[in-house]
């Protein structure tokens, strides 16, 4: 019996080996740190043992297993890896801005593992980002949750394969400008956006039905049932209706947020997170009751008309009203200091340390459906950790080391001038975008509409 067991195990192990090799897992013991667990308070002079990529033990005076790297973090703070629920870092393409619904496209197809922005995010303590489609379309593409395992040339090494799928929706000025104003097709107004979404779902219901009818008929003996046409777009919408996706919806105004909540209620969709949500404070109870939360900016607004009614108290008001709230970057610049962004909620709204840090850890993890795996320092969770000099909510905070799955991907002491993975053979100086702080939400979209005006693209 035992022998057979070993043979079977060995066989499986051989087969699984290439898969394991793809995503490296590390071992590390961090000693004597002030551990900001997020879910279990602050633990002084505490050790964290990560083995095979997983947090095995959190406690005092842990002994080091043989051959493990020990990091002395006395006087330093350790928090879980920061999670960004809305990002476009590490993407070669952001928008497929040519159709009001592009649910069929998938950001996993365009992940750029060479983007040095991933390394910069690590230097800001960010270990996970939701690499999202842009906001050009009412229903954009499927997103991909990335773990920042920088240093590989294989995009798939960055995929957090165990994360549920999320999909981008967008309301308001962006989809109406791109499709309505520029091309004269629906949606040209906020009403049009709602119509596009509702029509899409209704079509998906019919699509699903036609396939169910066919599949049932095809099972009969000697069936001559003719398969219906396939549509990756409608199939994806049907999957949303079946609860297989979490919607992450770009939105600003309270009325349109309410609108989409009503659409979701009508189609019995439960998994929805609103992004940006600058007027979220007006509909906080509704958001708390019906959604998986709101992902906001700390203090960024007035870049176009629909974003004037805004407040830096937004995150605090939402949090205090029971909305699962996160602070996101939507930017290759902001992603480097999301801990500062979280800190702003203490000045505007007086959130506690734990509440403020939850905005960039456990809350975005909940919004991405991965809170059972990451987002806090707990035994059994993945070993994504950041060591800070000074408290992360202090203006003096500086990330020292960032670990993903127990492997160190950033160390301020080993930080080189040139951290690029891939270098052009002909460009002496590679293009640097000075306006990196601009959102990439509308990246790739023609900036000029028929009026010739330049519109802000956030």
């Amino acid at each position: 019996m035992n022998k057979i067991f070993y043979i079977v195990t060995a066989f499986l192990w051989i087969n699984l080996y290439p898969l394991q090799a793809q995503s490296r897992k590390g071992n590390v013991l961090i000693k004597n740190a002030t551990v900001l667990t997020i879910t279990n308070g602050v633990q002084e002079e505490t050790d964290i043992l990560v083995e095979n990529g997983v947090i095995e033990k959190v406690g005092k005076g842990l002994s080091a297993p043989a051959n493990i790297t020990v990091v002395d973090a006395a006087g330093k703070f350790v928090m879980p890896g920061i999670i960004d629920a809305h990002s476009h870092v590490g993407l070669e393409v952001v928008n497929e801005p040519t159709s009001p619904i592009t649910a069929e496209v998938w950001m996993g197809d365009v992940v750029d593992p060479f983007d040095v922005g991933i390394y910069r995010a690590l230097a800001g303590g960010v270990t996970i980002s939701n690499a999202m489609h842009g906001s050009a379309n009412a229903i954009g593409g499927k997103n991909i949750t990335l773990k920042h395992r920088y240093g590989t040339s294989n995009p798939e090494d960055l995929f957090m394969k165990e994360a549920p799928r999320t999909i981008k929706f967008a309301l308001g000025e962006n989809p109406t400008r791109v499709h309505g104003r520029a091309h004269g097709i629906q949606p040209r107004s906020r009403m049009g956006v709602e119509a596009v979404i509702r029509n899409g779902f209704n079509e998906a219901i019919q699509y699903k039905k036609s396939w169910e009818t066919y599949n049932k008929a095809a099972k009969q003996k000697n069936s001559t049932a003719v398969p219906p046409a396939y549509s990756l777009r409608l199939q994806t919408l049907a999957d949303i209706l079946d609860g297989k996706f979490i919607i992450h919806c770009h939105s600003y105004r309270a009325d349109e947020i309410n609108m989409l909540i009503n659409v979701c209620k009508d189609f019995n969709i439960k998994n929805i997170v609103f992004s940006h949500v600058n007027e979220g404070f007006k509909v906080a109870p509704e958001l708390a009751e019906y959604t998986m939360g709101a992902s906001v900016f700390a203090d960024w607004w007035a870049y176009k008309f629909e974003v004037y009614y805004s407040t830096a108290y937004n995150a605090a008001i939402l949090s205090k009203n029971g909305v699962v709230t996160s602070i996101n970057s939507d930017s290759g610049e902001l992603i480097r200091h999301l801990f500062h962004e979280a800190g702003k909620t203490q000045r505007y709204g007086g959130l506690s340390d734990e509440e403020a840090l939850a905005l960039i850890t456990i809350n975005p993890a909940k919004q991405l459906g991965i809170a059972d795996k990451v987002g806090s320092i707990e035994e059994g969770k993945q070993g994504d950790l950041v060591i800070f000099e000074n408290h992360p909510l202090s203006v003096y905070a500086i990330p020292q080391m960032t670990f993903v799955d127990g492997i160190k991907y950033f160390d301020i002491k080993e930080d080189e001038n040139d951290q690029r993975i891939k270098v052009s053979a002909t460009e002496m100086v590679e293009t640097v975008y000075l306006k990196e702080d601009d959102h990439k939400c509308m990246h790739g979209v023609e900036m000029f509409t028929e009026t010739g005006n330049f519109f802000s693209t956030h």
Partner: protein, 563 residues
Amino acid sequence: MSVFKGHNLFMQMMAWMCSLFSLTVLAQSDPTGEKRVTGTYAITNATVFTSPGHSVTQATIVIKNGLIEDLGKNIKIPIEAREINGDSLFVYAGFIDVAGNAGVGKPATPERPNDFDPSDPPHEIVGITPYREVLDDFDAEGEEIADWRKEGFTLAQLVPKGDGMMPGKTAIAVYGQKGSSNIIAASAGFSSKFDAIRGMYPGTTLGIMAKWRDLYKNAELSAEHQILFASNSGIIRPEKNKVLESFFPVIDKEVPVIFEVSDELETRRALALQREMGFNLVLTGVSEGTSLISTIKEANVQVVLSLILPKDKASKKEIEDASSETTARLDRVKEAYKNSLKLASQFEKEDVAFAFGTQSAKSEDFMKNMRLMIENGLSEEGALAALTINAAKILNMDKITGSIEKGKLANLVITTDSLFKKGSQIKHVFADGYLFDYEDTDKQKEEKDEDDPVSGSWDYAAETPEGSSAGMMTLKKKPDGYQGTITFDDPEGGGKKTNEMKNIEWSGNTLKFDFDVDVKGMHISVTVSGDISGEEYEGKLSIPDFGSFPFRATKTPDSNHNI
């Protein structure tokens, strides 16, 4: 040197005499007088490389009816054969281009309809035309074909040139005599690339990936429907769809997808689609991605490397007073340049039987680039295999071409020395049994001073507040320095003026000179100063009391020996 023995000389004389009286004697059979005297040839006493690494010395090859009729020593030469004395010559199998555009035109894009909807454009407007045949846009007498044949290419897979993600079907043609169709196979492959037509769906790589999946799945379903319809009654009539039907041979693995990729990430995307759908895949235009070699081998995918190598802007570049950071960055560019030259050798080391494609490459750079790859680790046998037998196998044509064997197509390259040796020249090319002779015009080319980066013709452009100004500068090395002239837009209007370049100074990488411009009696001395890096010159043009403006020039190809 081809020497005509007695009977051949007689034939030649006859031909000449016949042509004199052609109107009366041969009017019916050859009114043009272009018909060749004989289609039978014998190359005697040559060193014949039958396949990479295998050679026979003092061998004779007999060519007849477009085929290799016989090969070996002590072979009987047919009486009608024209003999080519191969005493000092080397014979190789004709080169094969697995992905080329020579002679291929770009089909016209149809007009957009009035009710054009960019979110759902007609297939032919958005470049989804897999039903198109490249042969519909092929000119067998195109000039580029002669250019590539001159470099030794005798057979090519023609890839359609249309815009969009699925421009059409490839074909295989031999680079033979004009007047013949020269086509060996139509519908040989299904061409695809990550080329989106902006502003309509699919407008980006994202959309292309999704559209591929959608079309492929629908093609499978459409095939299923057609089979049901053909063998049952009571089935709804399948809607004919020429786009989906074009996928059928791909689904049945009768033809491969010829996927053009421009970088490593595109290569991965093509591989991902192949993994999902299982079609036969030939990657073309591959120019990077050594980390992908094992994946490519596992997937059993064919690889066609690009013949384009990056311009050498870095390897000789020095930056004065550079910080250690700048130097380190420059070193990485140098390393990246070196690595791209090594790519072919890396594939060879890993036993990938790759070939080459000429798409977008320049024929005049061909041999230079082959030698660069060889200098950087590719073996000569490996290079020859890539150009011949590997390519034939990828095209599934190794029964008829790719090596010198009895019964194979008479496609041969005949050189004056070992193929890749510097100074070796192509003297004759046989394609489809037709002989093409090349004169010894390149001799001077080899004698030119290749290390002189200055001499030659340069196209320049200068950006001034009045707009950009362009012209040509021509430099020539003399015992006491450089001499040169520069053309520029006549400021007094109309046309170009030419003036002498003065005070030409050349030191390090820096080239500096002055020239005079006369404007309404005023005499302005203009100074240009900048650095040469390879074929690029970058600097500034200064006009006294006016300012300095960016000045850029590029050496025109092969300009060193035009002067």
